[in-house]
């Protein structure tokens, strides 16, 4: 789960990490009002849950209230990578003389939180990682110790020569780690972290992502969630025990298990088809789940054919078959369906499918090829 810059910086503020004076605005009037109460210049920044807003023109410097109004007019309502900008952050302009990057994330290899720091702040860290990986210092944080003062100092000395800045950084880095732990974050970033003209460290921008698996114990964080249309659909699916991601193709896929679902998509593509989605109906499937899944697939008007690929382990193939038959009775299904069932109770399942006069195949490969054939036929 992601949150906006202004929300991340509100959390930073709560932990006494210095951020710019700023206010989120939903209308041009609010932008003007806020800019009028600030000293000039101010910066007007689009608040959207996607990267690259700078390149898209979503960040503008305003030297007067009028310029702020113009910026607000331009940015509010603009489209950035398919998302409409519904709010902007009006922030006090700050004079600074150097930019840094600091961030915390989970490292799969050390199985720990790592702290990343770079003197090349203010640009996308992924680009730094690609162009000059040595410019990013990485530090594994021992979960038993947390961010000790000595580790924070070690990191700070990599960025700063001035001991006054090192001392500020030590406190800030320890707070950032505490934020990461307290909120079950998966990413905490300050980029850029700037040194202001009067020698203060300040978070000019902030970014936070969170561990979806931990949201159950982070109600305050979960309350900040603003899913977009696709994500709403994914969340809705999730509530029904389904894992769904929409794609652009025409072949709707219903599979049990994430790995098999990906492999199924890959196979569709291999044979020249276009998968319409990733859909994992999960482990222990009840007939209702299959009905929900079928509903979900049919709600995507691009779907021209449905391919069902089940390898029964916990999932029993006869349950899937029964769910499918019920779904077909309840729903108005006017597109072809290909069913492949293997594993636990496959024989019983296949009999049910056959009785319902649905096409049955034996392997994943056959299923994919048959789906593609049917899809081509129906277009």
């Amino acid at each position: 789960m992601k949150i906006h810059e202004y929300q991340a910086k509100e959390i930073f503020s709560r932990y006494a990490i210095p951020v710019t004076k700023e206010k989120v605005c939903y209308t041009v009037e609010e932008v003007v009002e806020t800019a009028s109460s600030f000293e000039m210049p101010v910066v007007v920044k689009a608040q959207v849950l996607v990267g690259g807003r700078g390149k898209a023109g979503g960040v503008k410097l305003a030297r007067s209230v009028e310029e702020a109004r113009t910026a607000g007019e331009q940015i509010l309502g603009m489209d950035i990578k398919g998302l409409t900008v519904e709010k902007v952050l009006v922030a006090q302009g700050i004079k600074f003389n150097s930019e840094y990057y600091v961030g915390l994330t989970i490292d799969r290899n050390s199985k720990s939180v790592i702290f990343m720091a770079s003197s090349e702040g203010g640009v996308e860290i992924e680009e730094v990682a690609k162009d000059n990986p040595n410019a990013i210092h990485k530090f594994v944080i021992d979960p038993d110790l947390g961010m000790t003062a000595f580790l924070a100092r070690k990191i700070a000395f990599k960025l700063f020569n001035d001991f006054a800045l090192v001392k500020q950084a030590v406190g800030m880095f320890q707070k950032l780690y505490q934020i990461f732990i307290d909120t079950d974050a998966s990413l905490v970033e300050i980029n850029p972290l700037v040194v202001t003209d009067d020698g203060q460290l300040l978070a000019l921008d902030g970014k936070m992502n969170f561990d979806d698996n931990a949201l159950f114990r982070q109600p305050a964080i979960e309350a900040l969630n603003e899913p977009d249309e696709d994500e709403k659909k994914e969340l809705e699916a999730k509530e029904k025990g389904l894992s769904y991601i929409r794609l652009d193709g025409t072949i709707g896929c219903m599979v049990n298990g994430a790995g098999l679902a990906m492999a199924t998509m890959d196979l569709v593509k291999y044979f020249g088809g276009q998968p319409a989605n990733f859909l994992d109906i999960g482990g222990s499937s009840s007939p209702q789940k299959v009905i929900d899944a079928m509903n979900l697939l049919l709600s995507d008007k691009n779907v021209k054919v449905v391919m069902i690929n089940i390898f029964g382990g916990i999932t029993r193939c006869d349950d899937v078959a029964r769910g499918l038959v019920t779904a077909l009775q309840q729903l108005n299904v006017d597109i072809p369906i290909v069913v492949r069932l293997s594993g636990t109770n496959a024989r019983q399942g296949l009999e049910i499918i056959k009785e319902a006069n649905l096409p049955v195949v034996n392997t994943m490969s056959e299923a994919a090829q048959e789906a593609i054939r049917l899809c081509a036929a129906c277009q």
Binding site: K111, A261, A263, S284, G313, S342
Partner: protein, 294 residues
């Protein structure tokens, strides 16, 4: 031989009275796994399927000498359950629970490392040594005793692959589902080394997926340490970036962790990568025959 589990495994089931726990206990027992105890706080003294239930893993281990634990408790409690098992003295913990918070796994894996206890999972289907012990939720009937070691980040894809092997007459020494979470227990390197050291394993199948760089690291490890033939498969060639493909760990972030990179890494060290599941048995047979001749 085989790795990790066998007929010396003495299994305790944490969460044995739950829906999944009791269901799979009977499946594992039917397969022949030696289940010696169950744990369910507050239900100590009861029995499930003739298996004695204890309040704590410590009590279970003391009474039954269990050496392996499998965990079916709800995700919010799973991190604690893993540590409980390790503290109680088992040597191997398999955590099936899905949706465990990452920071809980960070804490648990650090603790298990300190205690020298092995972990598989969380969010995994478990593992099986065909003919000896099934410790997990895998469908036992598709496996065949033999000499191919298999490891995988996914569940049903593993079954698909195993089915391909078995129907082509290729049996397995041990099959391990390592789980799809970003922070998990034993990973490719450790298992590759165990299969390398296992006299019953003659070839290794590695099933990876998008996200992270575990496959790249495995490729490097194979190059440096593994002499037995390895065949790989990577799921998610068509997955879009920035989207979590079911597994918490299966996500392409900032363009890294793609299937293409992983396939390239394996091929660069001479590990053939199947483009479709059906190619797996073909590649395995080829390499095993080649090795037999050499």
């Amino acid at each position: 031989m085989s790795i990790l589990v066998n007929n010396k495994t003495r299994l305790v089931v944490q969460g044995i009275t739950g829906r999944d726990g009791s269901f799979h206990t009977s499946k594992m027992k039917a397969y022949g796994t030696n289940i010696v105890a169950g744990v369910s706080p507050g239900k100590g003294g009861q029995q499930v399927d003739g298996i004695p239930v204890f309040n704590t893993v410590e009590d279970a281990v003391k009474a039954t000498n269990a050496n392996t634990s499998i965990i079916f408790v709800p995700a919010p409690l799973a991190g604690d359950a893993i540590m409980e098992a390790a503290e109680a003295g088992v040597e191997l913990v398999i955590c099936i629970s899905e949706g465990v918070p990452t920071l809980d796994m960070v804490k648990a894996t650090a603790y298990l490392k300190k205690k020298g206890v092995k972990l598989i999972g969380a969010n995994c289907p478990g593992l099986i040594t065909p003919g000896e012990a099934l410790v997990g939720i895998l469908p036992g009937n598709i496996f065949l005793k033999g000499n191919v070691g298999l490891m995988s980040r996914s569940g049903t894809l593993t079954y698909e692959m195993v089915n391909q092997l078995t129907t082509n007459g290729i049996g397995q020494s041990t099959c391990v589902g390592i789980g799809g979470d970003p922070v998990a227990g034993l990973y490719y390197q450790e298992l590759l080394q165990m299969f390398e050291d296992d006299p019953e394993t003659e070839a290794i199948v590695l099933i990876g997926e998008i996200g992270g760089d575990a496959e790249e690291r495995a490729a490097q490890y194979i190059k440096e340490h593994i002499t037995k033939p390895v065949v790989a498969f990577i799921a998610g060639q068509t997955a879009p970036p920035g989207k979590r493909m079911g597994h918490a760990g299966a996500i392409i972030s900032s363009g890294s962790g793609t299937a293409a990179e992983k396939i390239a890494a394996f091929e660069a060290v001479g590990v053939p990568v199947a483009r479709r599941p059906v190619e797996i048995p073909v590649l395995v047979k080829e390499l095993m025959e080649k090795r037999a001749k050499a």
